[in-house]
């Protein structure tokens, strides 16, 4: 079947969001058959085993860390935060695109979101899972991590509610649970579809329980749509608050390079930027392997590249404003950091990688060729994620040289740091591959609402 080009920009014509044989049954078949294959494609197994081994590496290194102590990391005076927090902010940032697509684009009635929102929300939850690992093990004595929660205890002590680190606990855990609820609520009708198509006993039982007895009753749909709208309205400010709170971890501190008011919007823009890059990285191979090219069309991909381009410009603007503020303030510590140490200091390669990958390379998306060629966008998206990881690393390295030159130091990651970063990708991809295999990758019920209902067989 020829793939229709729906990336034209003729305002007189409404571009179809779904191409090919766009009827209800074919959408059900296309999405459900992915999970109904008796055996997944061999490439799935290869990817799954690779991810699982990386996950095993993460598990082993965490056991080693707990048994030995946080000294196995490179964290030491003056950089006590190091890679674990770099990785945490990196993953939390990636986790922002899902809720942006499912909530904000929903409120703005961007109907193209329906093809990619399920996948993006799943990615959000898995990314937040990866993010949760790092502060969890960074507390040192992992078995006392529950001290983060405000619970009555025999010490008679409560957390300090005026600390951004505590706000972070509330923000990230609220974000994780609300995203999971939103994801699951959206999936109930599709799980019912899988239940109704199930042929084996295990599938009937599993999808039967998971779909909670959903029938698609008009009354149920009425309340469901209301609840979905409310959740979207709640998740929209939530997604903006989460990365703002993460940025407070830095902005409330007095370290040069951290103590700036631009951090919350700058972090949120960066989070959406990296999140969309990750969605593109996942969606391009997924639509090719699982035959979803008619559902996730070139227009969807092009829209995402446009978001990446826009957020890249915002991030670049933030980088520029940081430099300007440092120069305009004439504060010696700020000018030293932004105009001396970052671009020309010991971590200058990380800084220039960040600028290149986040600001310069995404400008290629001004060209239509780059916006419509899948392999090009995947490469650019991968570079964006490299750049966004470097951005957090550069911010963290502000700690190496603050006010007192006698306290300056450097940070060198250990092999365990590297294994944990790579291992967290193992966790992410293991969860994502399981999702592809067992859950509906595209929100069928939502896609069906955007079909042109006039011409059904």
């Amino acid at each position: 079947m020829a793939v229709v080009d729906n990336t034209f920009n003729d305002p007189a014509l409404r571009a179809p969001l779904i191409t090919g044989r766009a009827d209800l049954a074919s959408i059900t078949d296309t999405v459900c058959e992915i999970t109904e294959q008796y055996r997944p494609p061999r490439s799935w197994y290869v990817a799954f085993i690779a991810s699982l081994s990386l996950l095993g590496m993460l598990g082993l290194s965490i056991i080693y860390l707990i048994a030995t102590g946080v000294g196995v990391w490179g964290n030491n005076s003056p950089v006590f935060w190091g890679w674990p927090i770099v990785n945490f902010v990196f993953w939390v940032g990636i986790g922002h695109a899902g809720t942006l697509i499912s909530a904000i684009l929903f409120l703005f009635r961007q109907q193209w979101r329906t093809s990619i929102n399920r996948m993006a929300e799943a990615m959000t939850i898995f990314a937040v899972t990866c993010a949760g690992v790092f502060p969890g093990i960074h507390v040192g004595r992992v078995w006392l991590a529950y001290w983060l929660a405000p619970y009555p205890n025999y010490l008679g002590m409560w957390p300090n509610f005026r600390s951004p680190l505590l706000w972070d606990v509330f923000a990230v855990s609220t974000y994780a649970s609300v995203s999971a609820l939103f994801w699951y609520l959206g999936m109930i009708p599709d799980l019912a579809t899988l239940r109704d198509r199930a042929t084996t006993k295990i599938r009937k039982l599993a999808y039967g329980v998971a779909s909670l007895g959903w029938t698609g009753s008009a009354r149920a749909w009425h309340r469901y749509e209301r609840a979905y709208l409310l959740l979207a309205a709640l998740a929209t400010p939530l997604v903006l608050s989460v990365h703002s709170v993460v940025s407070f971890d830095f902005a409330v501190a007095q370290v040069p390079g951290w103590h700036t008011t631009i951090f919350p919007p700058y972090f949120v823009a960066g989070a959406i930027f990296s999140g969309f890059a990750m969605v593109v990285t996942l969606a391009v191979p997924a639509r090719a392997y699982f035959g979803l090219k008619n559902l996730i069309t070139m227009r969807h991909l092009e829209n995402m590249t446009k978001v990446i381009l826009a957020t890249s410009c915002m991030v670049g603007y933030a980088y520029g404003v940081e430099l300007f503020t440092a120069w305009y303030s004439q504060n010696p510590n700020e000018t030293f950091l932004f105009l001396g140490n970052r671009p020309f200091g010991p971590y200058a390669p990380a800084y220039w990688t960040m600028v290149t990958c986040n600001v310069l390379i995404p400008q290629l998306f001004w060209f239509r060729k780059c916006r419509t060629t899948p392999w090009m966008m995947v490469i650019i998206a991968l570079l964006v994620n490299v750049g966004m990881w470097m951005e957090r690393f550069v911010i963290m390295m502000s700690l190496t040289r603050d006010y007192l030159p006698s306290s300056w130091g450097s940070f060198i990651p250990t092999p365990i740091d590297v294994v944990m970063l790579i291992g967290s990708f193992g966790l992410f991809f293991t969860l994502f591959l399981l999702f592809c295999r067992y859950l509906p990758m595209v929100a069928m019920a939502e896609v069906k609402t955007v079909l042109p209902h006039g011409h059904q067989p």
Partner: protein, 422 residues
């Protein structure tokens, strides 16, 4: 076969009529028609929300938004009260002199809890209002109904509706283009949970009580088995303790002696008068400057120290009848006990105060046989306290030998001693 007969014995109760349509337009029109015919107990089923259905079926607005609004307020109140009570009341947490409760710093957590409460309420309220989870539904018996979640549209009219007329309804559905009309029978199988599930539940519930009971028992009773330390924290640290043997030093002592020829600060002890009670090779007759002033504080200190260290043998009044001495004299197994002197005996009364101090400091070997009758107290009692004891001993002695002249001028009349005066 038997099961089949049992089923046929039961009367098949008609619970409704289910019509199938291929597109949403047919469904909408049928729903409209059914409603115009005065039927109310109806429902439609579609793979996606069909807009316009609310009006066609006459669905009233859901109270869900109000519930969510209420939950949001509750989250706000809970968050503010929690932060105020924990950080300003129960455990006042003073940070950099800032107010204990300040709204700006409490906004992030308040916001997160508003969202958390509202989102959970929205999720669980939509399930509860929709009657989910519900795994037992007569519609699931219909093979055709499975397409309701994929590409077909259904309308159900319940037989309990007062206007229900199967024949008229069938015609109505077919006039709107229904591709099939089926009778829905009430499910004859009881909607009860099987006994095995109940039994498993009871067993699991009973077993679930074991760990908390075990913990409660262990917390309320004593045990001679050492605690299990799953996480050692810093409870066990390899180290050599004082008074214990060590392999670290050649002499095997954990505690180290001072380097030869050194004296610790404040331990030079070169003042013969103060630390030994000797002035120019003779016993001192005056108190040293370090024991001054000889006031009530010094006297009280001396009395307290005397009662602790000396009174066990010499007695509280210094008569040499302390409780240790009385006990030793009463027992047959202490023939070598040397009874302490009375501090009021003539020899002691004549001693210069330097000698009293020297005796407390070094003990005394009254029989000159190398065994101390009274042990040395220089280790237990610091020099100034020893001088305080000397002062108190002098007071005890004077108390037995006082004259009227010892009283200050104004206090003599206060002594009501008419007999002695005569």
């Amino acid at each position: 076969m038997i099961e089949h007969e049992v089923q046929t014995d039961q009367p098949q109760v008609l619970s409704g009529l289910l019509a199938e349509f291929t597109d949403q337009q047919g469904l909408l029109e049928a729903a409209q028609g059914v409603r115009e015919a005065g039927l109310r107990r109806t429902d439609c089923f579609s793979p996606y929300p069909v807009h316009g259905m609310e009006r066609a079926l006459g669905i009233r607005n859901t109270p869900l938004p109000w519930l969510v609004l209420f939950a949001g307020f509750a989250g706000c109140v809970v968050a503010l009260l929690m932060q105020w009570w924990t950080n300003a009341v129960d455990y006042p947490f003073l940070i950099s002199g800032k107010p204990l409760f300040s709204l700006p710093a409490n906004i992030p957590v308040t916001f997160e809890l508003i969202v958390l409460f509202s989102a959970f309420t929205a999720f669980f309220a939509v399930l509860a209002l929709n009657g989910l989870p519900r795994f037992h539904n007569p519609l699931f018996q219909h093979e055709r109904f499975r397409r309701a979640s994929s590409d077909r549209f259904f309308i159900l009219v319940e037989a309990s509706d007062p206007q229900f007329d199967a024949i008229r309804l069938r015609e109505l559905f077919q006039s709107h283009g229904a591709v099939s009309v089926e009778q829905v029978m009430a499910d004859p199988t009881p909607a009860r949970i099987p006994l095995a599930v109940h039994l498993t539940g009871v067993i699991v519930l009973c077993l679930a009580f074991i760990p908390p009971l075990w913990i409660a028992r262990d917390r309320s009773t004593t045990s001679d088995v050492p605690r299990i330390h799953p996480v050692p924290d810093m409870d066990f640290q390899p180290k050599f303790k004082p008074q214990a043997e060590t392999s670290l030093f050649a002499d095997g002592r954990t505690m180290r002696l001072p380097v030869a020829g050194t004296i610790a600060r404040g331990e030079l002890n070169d003042d013969e008068h103060f630390v030994r009670g000797i002035v120019a090779n003779a016993f001192a007759t005056t108190f040293p400057a370090q024991a001054m002033p000889l006031d009530q504080v010094m006297m009280a200190r001396g009395r307290e120290r005397f009662n602790i260290y000396c009174a066990t043998c010499h007695g509280l009044a210094g008569d040499g009848n302390g409780i240790t001495s009385q006990r030793a004299l009463a027992r047959a197994d202490s023939p070598n006990w040397r009874p302490p002197l009375s501090l009021h005996s003539q020899g002691v009364l004549e001693m210069p105060i330097g000698k009293l101090f020297f005796t407390i400091t070094n003990g005394v070997d009254r029989q000159n046989d190398g065994n101390l009758s009274m042990p040395a107290y220089d280790v237990q009692i610091p020099p100034r306290d020893r001088w305080a004891i000397v002062l108190y001993v002098l007071a005890l002695q004077r108390s037995r030998n006082a004259e009227l002249n010892d009283l200050p001028e104004g206090a003599r009349e206060s002594l009501a001693l008419p007999d002695i005066a005569q």
